[in-house]
């Protein structure tokens, strides 16, 4: 890289200190090969750049914004061109590059459907009346306790007010059918001993006994598919990474959970963090990856603390490190926080984010299994997917398949929110009908009008879909998707036009902006829906055609899943007559 040139602005002492908590001057002088091999993998070319986002977080947290001097200091320490560091800083919602002029807390108020239904506007008014600095936020992953807030502090830790008041109880507590959630609400998430008392680390022992090949075969035979949205067969993914030559591979737990309506990964990471660590370790041993990464969304401070605590305890107990759990293999985990960007949950955007680049998805192929994080073979999995592996390793694939359907074996987590009596996280066998699931959550409140299945990237279904079995195949046949397990329930009092305009706004705000179909298409789609809402009338034929034309181009020509799905909820709402109907 050429010699970098910086502007005149210098970091002040506080900014230098903030940078120094992540990378000291001595660290920067030599790229140290630490005991923890994961630091930077072998990506020497990129040097310390993978610490850019942590450094920016530190500046934001200590100073309240990223000033020109702070940015220069960070860029110089890490050897990153300042223009590129600025490009990264301006990518994230939680990082500010303009001086707020105060160091007060910033209160992020969720404006997505479950919170809108639960009276977030009244909450906004009361907060503002008390002088709070409120800014709007997409879904904060707390839809079961809507309306949701996240408080970003300057010099004080970030926090979620609801965490302090919460008296957590899993709706299905005590149900013997629970697999993924069986320890949630039961185990002490801060204690390795408690985790062991509740069967923890038996799956890893079984996996070490079986050996890598047999573990991958068992995962394949179980029929486990990804729970992050794309439903890719996990066994095939692990096999592909295991078959790659070379010693440098990664496994990533994708805890970026930002699909509106999803909160399952937060509950898992807060209530059973060791299970995430244990299952990642199995993934590492099975695929031959020594480096594990947890990428968690920035709005989850408690889950972050608990995962960090679990990593530290597991490391101290020898369950992570040079000889992880006596397996003879090296495996350790590093945690990275996102900073407010839904797109960073897309696996290749996630790699760029960790590497210190803008969170822009990469074109596929090449796929992550051959060229993933730092261009090395990588298995990315959702935490729910990973936790299923614990059951498979302990009980075998046949037992795993004892519930669910032939093509959708096992259980599935669903995040129920909106107009249901008992919103919360539920685990049911694949094949349970939508109606039975909603009844499990106490039934709908009011007269059910529509259900948003799969979140903003999913689709609306009407009351006639209550008899639909929740499986991958049935959802596909109905033109819907289970996605990340979102079930948001709307009754006939909901203003569906506002809901759909908000979904369109979400995609407009969250598009990374890289490719034309999505950058412009999400903007124009939002404009058409705003126009429709303002008109108060039916959807004109040429507007309906425009919506379809844009949708087809976004689905066909965009780079990633965000663009591919950005119009699916909108189109389903039109098709169901939820919006734009002739009077």
């Amino acid at each position: 890289m050429a010699d970098l040139r910086f502007g005149d602005e210098q970091p002040n002492d506080a900014e230098l200190a903030a940078i120094g908590t992540i990378v000291s001057e001595a660290d920067a002088a030599t790229v140290v090969e630490t005991e923890r091999v994961v630091r930077g993998g072998t990506a020497r070319r990129r040097g310390l750049r993978h610490l850019l986002l942590p450094v920016l977080h530190s500046l934001q947290h200590e100073i309240g914004w990223i000033s020109p001097g702070g940015l220069n200091g960070a860029a110089k320490r890490l050897g990153v061109p300042p223009a590129e560091a600025y490009g990264v800083a301006t990518f994230y919602e939680l990082l500010r590059t303009t001086d707020p002029g105060h160091r007060d807390d910033i209160v992020h108020l969720c404006v997505d459907p479950a919170c809108a239904l639960a009276g977030n506007e009244e909450l906004r008014s009361s907060l503002e009346a008390r002088g709070a600095k409120v800014c709007e936020s997409p879904c904060l992953g707390q839809c079961e306790r809507a309306p949701a807030l996240f408080v970003q502090g300057a010099g004080r830790p970030d926090r979620v007010p609801a965490d302090d008041e919460e008296d957590f109880r899993l709706p299905q507590a005590g149900d013997s059918g629970l697999r993924v959630l069986r320890r949630v609400g039961v185990v002490d998430p801060a204690s390795l001993d408690s985790y062991r008392d509740h069967g923890g680390y038996q799956a890893l022992a079984a996996a070490i006994e079986m050996g890598a090949e047999a573990v991958i075969d068992a995962v394949r035979d179980s029929g486990l598919s990804g729970r992050g949205g794309a439903a890719f067969p996990t066994g095939a993914k692990w096999r592909a990474v295991a078959d790659e030559p070379g010693p440098h591979k990664h496994v990533v737990a994708n805890c970026d959970e930002s699909e509106p309506g999803t909160f399952k990964d937060r509950v898992i990471c807060e209530r059973d963090p060791f299970a995430v660590i244990e299952s990642m370790t199995i993934a590492g041993l099975a695929t031959g990856a020594a480096c594990g990464w947890i990428y968690i969304r920035g709005e989850y401070p408690r889950a972050t603390r608990r995962l960090e605590g679990a990593i530290a305890q597991a490391r101290a107990a020898g369950l992570l490190g040079r000889d992880a759990a006596g397996s003879g293999q090296r495996f350790d985990i590093e945690l990275r926080r996102g900073a407010g960007a839904y797109i960073c949950g897309e696996e290749t955007a996630l790699f760029n984010s960790i590497e210190g680049f803008r969170g822009e998805p990469r074109n596929k192929p090449p796929f992550p299994t051959t060229r993933g994080l730092f261009n090395q073979p990588t298995a990315v999995n959702n935490p729910e997917t990973l936790l299923n592996v614990l059951h498979i390793a302990t009980h075998g694939p046949d037992a795993y398949r004892s519930v669910g359907t032939e093509r959708s074996p096992g259980t599935r987590l669903f995040c129920l929110s909106g107009r249901v009596a008992a919103p919360g996280l539920y685990e049911v066998p694949f094949g349970t009908t939508l109606g039975d699931l909603i009844d499990l959550a106490g039934g709908p409140l009011g007269s059910l009008a529509a259900v948003l299945l799969g979140g903003a990237a999913g689709a609306f279904v009407g009351p006639d879909a209550l008899s639909m079995p929740l499986t991958l195949e049935d959802a596909r046949e109905a033109g819907a998707t289970l996605g990340s397990g979102v079930v948001t329930v709307f009754d006939d009092t909901a203003d569906m036009e506002s809901v759909v305009v908000r979904i369109a706004e979400f995609f407009r705000d969250e598009s990374c902006g890289q490719c034309v179909p999505c950058r412009v298409g999400t903007q124009r789609q939002h404009e058409v829906l705003v126009e429709l809402q303002a008109s108060g009338g039916p959807l004109a034929p040429q507007r309906a055609e425009l919506i379809d034309d844009m949708a087809r181009a976004m689905a066909d020509a965009s780079i990633c899943g965000l663009g591919h799905t950005a119009s699916s909820a909108v189109r389903s709402a039109v098709a169901l007559g939820l919006i734009g109907k002739s009077p």
Binding site: T90, F91, D509, V516, P517, R524, V528, L546, A557
Partner: protein, 282 residues
């Protein structure tokens, strides 16, 4: 089979482009195969001297067996691929990309883009009146070149030319996100205060004239920019011993801009400040 470098190779890949078999060397892209088949393909973000970033998506083609369309400029050929370059789906997506761009960007000086837009029947006027546009002031910060981001289609070419692909200066990057994304220096610092060394390589690759020589900008402002009256003279730069080729564009006996041929082994379209702008001081 003859490769681009003129050497026979055994590892040729054969694919079908609109039903016609073409053989191209291993590692070639679908775009290369389309070229070989004599099929013209629109391209905005792709440039022969740049690493494909595949962001504009105007070059998409239909690949049998693939759910979505694929960008021809970056997708490597694989044996027995079957490509369609003029199906309804392809024409639709290409039209929409061009329509989308023209609906929010001033493409008045992007001649090639406008020709393709016409070819595919793009209608940028059918969107909601008053919709968002780039809405950026012209940045005139020195006497060498101007940046008019109202004309920017965010093709990333300038960023690539300033960074990894040619200059290794990294003076500019993409900042912001979504429709608000813009090409920018850090904190939008004026170019003279940034890392820019005025090689002009970004100007050379810009497909829309968002980046323009100041001489051209001034003449256009005065309504006296007349490309049809310009002559182009090839010469070798005399500032140092490298031997860069220059193309001097002359209008009314005045040099009005300086380019460098893409196909030249040494420069590949790139120059330094002396070659690119030295004539300014002559």
């Amino acid at each position: 089979m003859i490769t681009t470098s003129g050497v026979a190779t055994e590892s040729a890949v054969t694919i079908r482009v609109d039903g016609k078999e073409v053989a191209v060397p291993e590692g070639a892209t679908i775009l290369d195969a389309c070229d070989a088949a004599g099929v013209q393909t629109p391209a905005i973000c792709y440039g022969p001297t740049l690493t494909p970033v595949n962001v504009c998506r105007v070059c998409v083609v239909e690949l049998e067996g693939s759910r979505a369309l694929v960008p021809s400029c970056s997708r490597a050929v694989e044996d027995a691929m079957a490509i369609h370059t003029d199906s309804e789906r392809v024409r639709h997506s290409r039209k929409m990309v061009l329509e989308f761009l023209a609906s929010g960007v001033d493409v008045s000086q992007a001649d090639e883009l406008r020709q393709w837009a016409e070819h595919y029947g793009a209608d940028p006027d059918r969107y909601v009146p008053g919709g968002a546009t780039m809405d950026e002031p012209v940045r005139v910060q020195d006497n060498l070149y101007i940046r008019d981001y109202d004309k920017c289609v965010l093709c990333y070419r300038c960023v690539e030319a300033c960074g990894d692909d040619a200059q290794h200066t990294y003076a500019i990057s993409v900042a912001g996100r979504g429709f608000g994304a813009r090409i920018s220096t850090e904190f939008d610092a004026p170019l003279p205060d940034s890392a820019c060394v005025y090689c002009g390589n970004c100007v050379a690759v810009c497909p829309t004239n968002a980046l323009q020589f100041k001489t051209e900008f001034d003449l256009r402002q005065a309504d006296s920019w007349r490309p049809e009256d310009q002559t182009v003279t090839r010469t070798v730069c005399s500032y140092c011993g490298v031997g860069c080729n220059l193309e001097l564009h002359v209008q009314d006996n005045q040099i009005v801009k300086c380019t460098s041929p893409d196909d030249h082994d040494v420069t590949r379209g790139n120059l330094c400040i002396k070659g690119r702008f030295g004539w300014n001081y002559v």
